[in-house]
Symmetry: C2
Subunit: 521 residues, 2 copies
Amino acid sequence: MAKQRKSKVMRPQARPPKGFRDYFGSEVVDRNAMLEAVTGIYHRYGFDPLESPAVETVEALGKFLPDVDRPNEGVFAWKEDEAGWIALRYDLTAPLARVYAQFRNDLPLPYRRYAVGPVWRNEKPGPGRFRQFFQCDADTVGSGSPAADAEMCMMLADILEAVGIRRGEYIVRLNSRTVLDGIMNKAGILDPDRPEAAAQRRATVMRAIDKLDRLGADGVLALLGTGRRDESGDYTPGAGLAENEARVVMDLIAPADGRGDGAGRVRAALSDGDAGGRDVLEIEKLVRDQGYGPDRIMIDTSVVRGLGYYTGPVYEAELTIMAADARGRPQQFGSVAGGGRYDGLVRRFTGQDVPATGVSLGVDRLLSALRAGGRAAQGAAEAGSGPVVVTVMDRDRLGDYQAMAAELRSAGIRAEVYLGNPKNFGNQLRYADRRNSPVAVIEGSEERSRGVVLVKDLVAGRQIAEVIDTSAEWKSQPAQFEVRRDGFVPEVLRLVDAFRLPPEELQAELARRRDFYLGRL
Amino acid sequence: MAKQRKSKVMRPQARPPKGFRDYFGSEVVDRNAMLEAVTGIYHRYGFDPLESPAVETVEALGKFLPDVDRPNEGVFAWKEDEAGWIALRYDLTAPLARVYAQFRNDLPLPYRRYAVGPVWRNEKPGPGRFRQFFQCDADTVGSGSPAADAEMCMMLADILEAVGIRRGEYIVRLNSRTVLDGIMNKAGILDPDRPEAAAQRRATVMRAIDKLDRLGADGVLALLGTGRRDESGDYTPGAGLAENEARVVMDLIAPADGRGDGAGRVRAALSDGDAGGRDVLEIEKLVRDQGYGPDRIMIDTSVVRGLGYYTGPVYEAELTIMAADARGRPQQFGSVAGGGRYDGLVRRFTGQDVPATGVSLGVDRLLSALRAGGRAAQGAAEAGSGPVVVTVMDRDRLGDYQAMAAELRSAGIRAEVYLGNPKNFGNQLRYADRRNSPVAVIEGSEERSRGVVLVKDLVAGRQIAEVIDTSAEWKSQPAQFEVRRDGFVPEVLRLVDAFRLPPEELQAELARRRDFYLGRL
């Protein structure tokens, strides 16, 4: 028995590690198209690309993620015999700090770079939460100017519009860590004589404020006070503020009359000496000077952006359009990008503070928003996105079929010869349908003897198959026509070119074709 | 003393792990441009993109690299508590086998995909040899047809021409493992009654043949016979063939009269029953039918492609142009891409053989060939590749300067405001030079009062600085001119647009400008 089991072949599971996934076809194409638009804006603003390796030494990477409280959490790290501990990068900012420290004598100052690529988090995966995902960042290292922060906010607005989000469907919200400190000072809740207790309370208050969008004012109020029990029965202890203290905080982050006058609340929160928070007002002035109104960029004193490495202004781009979630319920997309100033990140290497500010785009999040809103290439255009398939009627003539595919490609048409077993012709057409092919080209011996080929309009064929219901009718195969072998390329081009039309025109063209073919029945 | 040491701040080294590197600016831009051309060809041939994660389970990844003999060598792998052993992918083929096995019921058959991305090898780094590098693959899974192999060879030729290698500067060499076996049978050097000894000798002979390009016929002859001592004195034992046996092998892989008639040598090597090797002849016929002559694709019976997973036809694209190596010595670039048929890779998961064939591009290798040949965007065009820099003369007017940059960007010009400390104007111009900026725009209070801005032609300025040798002359700053503030954008555009010209026209335009400015001195 034991022997038998041993001799049984153990096959590996065909599965990626838990929390990782594959991206197919249009998922990759759409993302690349979006990233090209985004990096096009970064480039236009003067940023240069940088590509650092996927791994860094644990030492260089440091021990903090931008959005979590606890150190050294959520990183894939392992020990190499020679190299010591190395780790997969968890974001694109920590490697930037390393690169800047390493090459600071050779790099222009300020150093303005953008970076695109995967990052890895060793966290519990969940629905829609993966352990490898894309980020797309731009940072200015070596400038403390509010103009650098203002540029980030304007660039975020430009990026969202460049990828297809309309004005009014997003908002860039701006705040500063110093404003949040000013609010807490105003409420008198941080005891300067007990710095440790004050730091802890500060963290608890900021965590509470960070939940405003999710829990609403009542939820935050509870978390500022005694604590809050959620629907599941879980209890989160509060910051222990007295009711009047909590009121001061709430009035400065989410007043009952709406969050309109952010600048006014910033001024109310700051004492005369708080130079830091004034940066936010200067940034607001700069973006207004450029014509970016409150419909695009606004101060929102409730923006926190986690407890990570930010030291001054923080900003967050949020989609305000609603979309259906996985269960069809309307849902706000929320934050798709954000960033801020982090003046301390290079110090770890050099001992000197280097001012820096930057943005990071949640690539997968933004892409799913675009797809949900129908802004990514999909639908009708995808129906014809596959290659033209030249079918194989006679396997001794593969060379002729490859020549036909080559002619199509020379005309700019995506095309291939069917390379599976050609015996079953139905399989060839099923393959073409599965590939979203717009057209199949058929040349049997009979067609060949007459010097013609059959051009099969697969998209129209699929649509007709949906409206006519007897297989007898279908057998007459209306959605195809004969053309001369020496003139078939322009005919295929005509059918394929339609898929480059704007969606409405494409729909009209497909309806026209359908009617034409059906009229011949 | 011990305590003092302890209190000293230990700073991390600002360095990537050994064998890893960063890519800056034009290195990234050039590679992306090249990859876009390559994937454009893959797409045109009908392949769909696939992006699998960087990590796989060690189990799924399997234990062999394509080009090395020993199993489980050269992979970055580590143990995660929950997930078990996981590893960074060492190529793009092993993940493809996993994806195909996992999704085979949902994927079209044949499944044709391309993939681009980094792979990792835990090998000793050396000059120009890094532990993370790019691959760019296309594979057809589920087709045993020689037409699928022929397509790969033709696609390799098309790719090299698409990225700028001219016809005649490359050759795609084609062979088959079964031809190599036929050659060894012909020489009578594998004893069928002693399969283990035969397998070992087969490996030694193939390793010897694989070194033909590097060591020449004499070196291979030595390795087929008693062995070879290299210049350093290291000794490599040979396969132990008798001289007449080795002669048979040599005549079939590298006859004294040149390697011209590959098909003839294939026929000479094969007995009537060797169906496999005939594939090579069929592939040759197919590519000839498409007009790919021996100047682009040729049979070469000495092609081996390592001892990895290939089971039938193998192919290799080689650059035949010479280029200077790091020390300026002429050097052949050699292989930049290759591939072959590997029918056994999916069996590990499913127990069934699935025919598959594919190519892999050595991205960094091909890119350095392009750069060495001046085919990648460089030189004169790079001199103006940076952003137009709007300088800061008055830090209270940052908003005005940002508005100028925004106007330039609206006209499609890459532009930014100088965001460093504006106090030292020389630093601003040095920054622009370091960024390869084509133009700096200057508006001080004096210019502002007159409604003008200064447009500084930085590329011409740099060139003039090289030809005139007194700083006194230089101080007259000829390479700049005044324009109206409300009409400065078209003037900048005129200067910047030149960098989109073909190299010769750009050179002529720059010479014209230089003469114009110098004429004003």
